[in-house]
């Protein structure tokens, strides 16, 4: 067998918009996509934990992903939905503004996020350019495609320590 | 049809060991966890061979053998006794209770098979 550089892999991502930006989450982490439904609020949790909802008999937290990433909270509307994600065995729903597409991304095309002053990019593991197939999504598309921030699913885990610090 | 063996031992792991070793040799294995259950299972299972431990709660192996032998239908059923050691005294005791033979624990599958074939066609 010949020695090769790590092969570029094609990975599937689901893309969605949040505060006018495009984000992507690996399909492998996705459990399901649900329509937005107001969750039951919880006491004594950080504001981005919007509450808990009933997911097929499981009591699952719902997180405002915009707030979690440091953006202003999403205003929910008819196309708002919840991405249910598997976080190391636990499930959590994340509120996003709108679903966009499922795209195939080659790992070779992913760039690390640039270090920006004052911006918390710890939950973004890479940036990638995606050429939009449907142009009526309201995000700006030109022939250079649209930039998608890929979210590091592991960084989304909800722990009490993290929340206590938040 | 494969031969049926009833194993009576209060230790589940010992019963499992017997079951696994003997199933691999083509026997059908039933289990019971002490003498009292063993006696009841004997009558349900009607095995071709009984293998019993000696030290068990409620009814020990010797008592079980005597009780089994007292039932006319089991007069001719071979019975092997399992124990960690067999002094001559113990062998005599086993035989006078009605045992056909004995197996020393721990057993290896081959010796076990040979002992069984010695008493069970």
């Amino acid at each position: 067998m010949t020695q090769e550089a790590p092969a570029a892999q094609d990975l599937k991502f689901v893309t969605f918009s949040l505060s006018g930006q495009m984000f992507g989450i690996a399909m492998t982490a996705l459990v399901e996509i649900r329509e937005w439904e107001e969750p039951t609020p919880l006491p004594g949790v950080p504001s981005y934990v919007r509450g808990v909802t009933n997911l097929r008999g499981n009591v699952v937290p719902v997180v405002g992903l915009a707030e979690r990433l440091g953006w202003p909270p999403s205003v929910t509307h008819a196309r708002s939905c919840i991405l249910v994600v598997n976080l190391d065995g636990k499930q959590a729903g994340f509120l996003v503004d709108e679903m966009n597409d499922i795209v195939s991304i080659s790992t070779a095309d992913v760039q690390p996020p640039p270090a920006l002053d004052g911006a918390d990019t710890s939950m973004i593991y890479g940036l990638v350019r995606v050429f939009d197939r449907n142009s009526d999504t309201g995000t700006k598309t030109d022939d250079r495609g649209v930039m998608v921030s890929l979210i590091d699913v592991a960084a989304l885990s909800l722990t009490r320590d993290l929340d206590a610090a938040a | 049809m494969s031969k049926r063996i009833l194993t009576v031992d209060d230790s589940a792991s010992m019963r499992m060991l017997l079951r696994v070793s003997l199933t691999a040799q083509g026997y059908d294995i039933e289990g019971a966890e002490d003498g009292v259950h063993g006696l009841a299972r004997m009558q349900e299972v009607d095995p071709d061979l009984l293998i019993t431990d000696i030290n068990m709660p409620h009814m020990d192996g010797f008592e079980l053998i005597e009780a089994v032998r007292a039932l006319p239908r089991f007069r001719g059923t071979p019975i092997l006794v399992l124990s960690t050691e067999f002094s001559e005294e113990k062998k005599t005791r086993a035989r006078s209770a009605g045992a056909t033979g004995w197996i020393t624990k721990p057993f290896d599958a081959e010796k076990l098979g040979a002992a069984i074939r010695r008493v069970c066609p």
């Binding site: 004594g44 | 589940a12 002992a115």
Partner: protein, 715 residues
């Protein structure tokens, strides 16, 4: 056998060891307190015996050797050669601890223990018993050997077996070596006794076994065959002569004849020279062999006593075990929980006259039975977690030179399996704390006018949907000044902080506060009470501390029965629904004007037949800003009682319903949240949060407690 299978069986063996150790420990403890029946001793013997058996089967040689030595001593205790008194019990408990270590080493939980001291002790016990007993085991066998026993049997004796020949003749080593090198064919003569077919034996099988080894029958001796009418088909009359290759080992041939009836004649010799060697022949006196089956038919009936076959069958079915992944049980339990709830919803929806119809109560009863059964699958007595405690106490007594009387209560309380698995460590820690920090030395105790023997109480009880486990001691109580100083040193509190006694006591559980190194000499234990608290909270539980200077300290773990079904009252509050566990509810009241009085803008009390009970609005406790702050007259006050902090009134908007609910833990997908003991899914699919009354009452009192005292107002 595959390794997988073997591992699996070994796992079962380890479980049996754990059970066996528990039995042995209980029995030896009884003996140590001078109270051991013959049955108890037999149980201890069997437990150790089984451990030994498995140890041999799975190749745990050190465990085998130690359990063997232990078993020998127990055998003497059983036989009465060693007295089953308190002193022996104490010594055997010490050996038991080493045995437990050996088991743990076999499991791989710890290193191999140094058992030298324990072995010496066991050996000396055995030796002392041997001196006292008239004949040691080996001597007894030898003495009996030449004589026929009650059944007229004489043991089969062959020199190749590992014991002394009766006449004391040593097998000639040179001759033995000579034989091994020999390849002259064997000639075997085998004349089964008349009774050779007794006990289900079949001499023909021996012939077949020899044939499989390559033997061939060269002659059959039918001389003793009687005339047909005298022939008893159950007796054996024929003898055989076989030859087999000289390459076959003598021991293999001997093995074939291992089970042969005692008065059979077996000879094997090399075909040349012709002289049969005495040591090569296996023979026994043909003494009364026919007495073998003189056991009466009535005998087994007497043995089984009144037990019917049906009973035995039922017990047998129950005792067979299968291993099931706990997650599958959980799934089943969840489904059954839903079934219970649907059932109660169905009942609610039907008009009352329908309730009396046969089907509904039947369905309800069936559902309940399924639920009880499924719940019981996961429930186990807390004894399993408590079983480690006596040993910890013994060890700590030795290291601290304190004297402790351990009292255990409620061992049979059944708890979910997951709770048992996880409370071990917190429990150990609390016990260590109680003995190490709580109890004074015997001298100190005597000086304080106390019994020099300290008492540590360990108890478990179920209270509604919670399990309360308490460790209390009658020691010196928490040294609050010292705790306070230490908390200041560690920067946990400011130097000028004014704290209540309870608050100081609770500092013990504050992160970063570990009194272990400073207040006691048992250091190096690593973790402090903060870790205990974290563990308990991870179980959805809570820990409460109560201490009285000079009189003792108690630590109370309040744990949920995970996955439990709860009787709950569903209440409305600011548009949300919450569940108040019924076990905490005393009454609900529609306040009359003036019955609820404000003491301050944030604290209110309700006049309850002359007693003033603090009232709190759940919305305030949770920091929910209800838009409509209702007047008390438009609200309901539910009086709830907390085990630890007395009564309070919870002000809610309305009561919706009362029904059974499946408790879903919040930490399954999130983490435990203070003030909530979980959540439940209501019939319409929405979620209601379950209030943790104990925690709410505590925090309400912490918030309002300093502003008024209940008694002061009432007086």
């Amino acid at each position: 056998m595959s390794n997988n299978e073997l591992d699996e069986i070994q796992a079962i063996f380890f479980e049996e060891c754990t059970e066996g150790l528990a039995t042995a420990e209980a029995g030896l403890s009884a003996m140590a307190s001078g109270d051991a029946s013959q049955d108890v001793i037999a149980g201890v013997f069997r437990a150790v015996h089984s451990i030994k058996g498995g140890a041999g089967a799975f190749g745990h040689d050190a465990l085998l050797a130690f359990s063997h030595a232990f078993e020998n001593v127990l055998d003497k205790v059983r036989a009465g050669d060693i007295p089953a008194n308190a002193e022996i019990g104490q010594r055997l408990l010490a050996a038991f601890d080493v045995l437990a270590d050996h088991v743990n080493a076999a499991i791989g939980r710890c290193d191999m223990p140094d058992d030298h001291q324990a072995r010496t002790m066991l050996d000396s016990l055995l030796e002392a018993a041997g001196r006292d007993a008239p004949i040691a085991e080996a001597d007894r066998t030898a003495a009996v050997a030449p004589e026929a026993d009650d059944f007229g049997f004489v043991p089969v004796v062959a020199t190749s077996l590992d014991f002394d020949t009766p006449d004391g003749a040593d097998p000639d080593a040179a001759a033995l070596a000579d034989r091994e090198a020999d390849d002259r064919p064997w000639i075997i003569t085998f004349s089964p006794s008349r009774a050779a077919m007794a006990n289900g034996a079949e001499p023909l099988l021996l012939i077949r076994e020899l044939e499989r080894m390559g033997a061939s029958v060269v002659a059959a001796d039918a001389d003793t065959l009687p005339p047909l009418r005298e022939l008893d088909p159950e007796q054996s009359y024929i003898g055989w002569t076989l030859t087999i290759s000289g390459a076959v080992d003598q021991s293999e041939i001997e093995e074939c004849f291992d089970f042969v009836a005692p008065d059979s004649r077996v000879e094997y010799r090399r075909n040349v020279p012709e002289t049969p060697d005495r040591s090569d022949a296996v023979e026994a006196d043909p003494a009364g062999s026919t007495g073998l089956h003189l056991v009466s038919d009535a005998d087994p009936a007497a043995r089984t006593g009144g037990t019917s076959t049906a009973d035995i069958k039922a017990a047998e079915t129950a005792s067979q075990t299968i291993r099931i992944d706990v997650t599958r049980l959980d799934m089943l339990l969840n489904l059954v929980g839903e079934l219970v709830i649907r059932n109660s919803i169905l009942t609610d929806r039907l008009p009352p006259e329908e309730h009396e119809k046969v089907e509904l109560p039947q369905l309800g009863r069936l559902t309940r039975e399924i639920q009880d059964n499924v719940m019981s699958l996961r429930a186990q007595p807390i004894r399993q977690a408590f079983s480690r405690v006596p040993r910890i106490v013994r060890e700590l007594c030795a290291t601290t030179e304190k004297q402790v009387n351990l009292e255990v209560q409620g061992e049979t309380t059944e708890v979910d399996k997951s709770v048992i698995e996880k409370i071990g460590e917190p429990l150990t820690h609390m016990i260590r704390n109680a003995i190490d920090h709580g109890l004074e030395s015997p001298d100190e105790r005597a000086a304080a006018g106390k019994n020099p023997i300290g008492t540590v109480r360990l108890s478990a009880e179920q209270k509604g949907a919670r399990i309360v486990i308490r460790v209390s001691d009658d020691g010196r109580g928490i040294d609050r000044e010292r705790v306070r100083q230490k908390a200041i040193e560690k920067g946990i509190i400011g130097a000028d902080a004014s704290l209540s006694d309870d608050e100081i006591d609770n500092l013990i559980c504050a992160p970063g506060f570990s009194t272990a190194e400073t207040i006691s000499n048992i250091s190096g234990r690593g973790v402090g009470m903060d870790v205990v608290r974290t563990n308990v909270e991870a179980l959805g539980g809570r820990i409460d501390i109560f201490s009285t200077p000079g009189q003792g300290t108690s630590f109370t773990m309040v744990l949920p029965l995970t996955l439990a079904i709860l009787d709950g009252m569903i209440v409305q509050l600011a548009g949300q629904r919450y569940v108040v566990p019924l076990s905490h509810v005393i009454e609900s009241i529609s306040p009359q004007p003036g019955q609820v009085k404000a003491l301050s803008p944030r604290s209110e009390v309700i006049d309850l037949r002359g007693n003033y009970v603090p009232v709190c609005r759940v919305s305030d406790l949770f920091g929910l800003h209800a838009n409509d702050r209702r007047s008390p007259e438009e609200s309901l006050v539910i009086i709830v009682e907390s085990e630890i902090a007395g009564c309070i009134g919870l002000m809610v908007d309305s009561i919706d319903d009362r029904r059974e609910l499946v408790v879903k833990s919040l930490d399954q997908h999130l983490y435990p949240i203070s003030g909530l003991s979980g959540a439940t899914i209501l019939g319409d699919g929405s979620i209601a949060l379950i209030l943790d009354i104990d925690a709410l009452v505590s925090s309400a009192q912490a918030a309002g407690g300093s502003k008024f005292t209940l008694k002061g107002v009432a007086a």
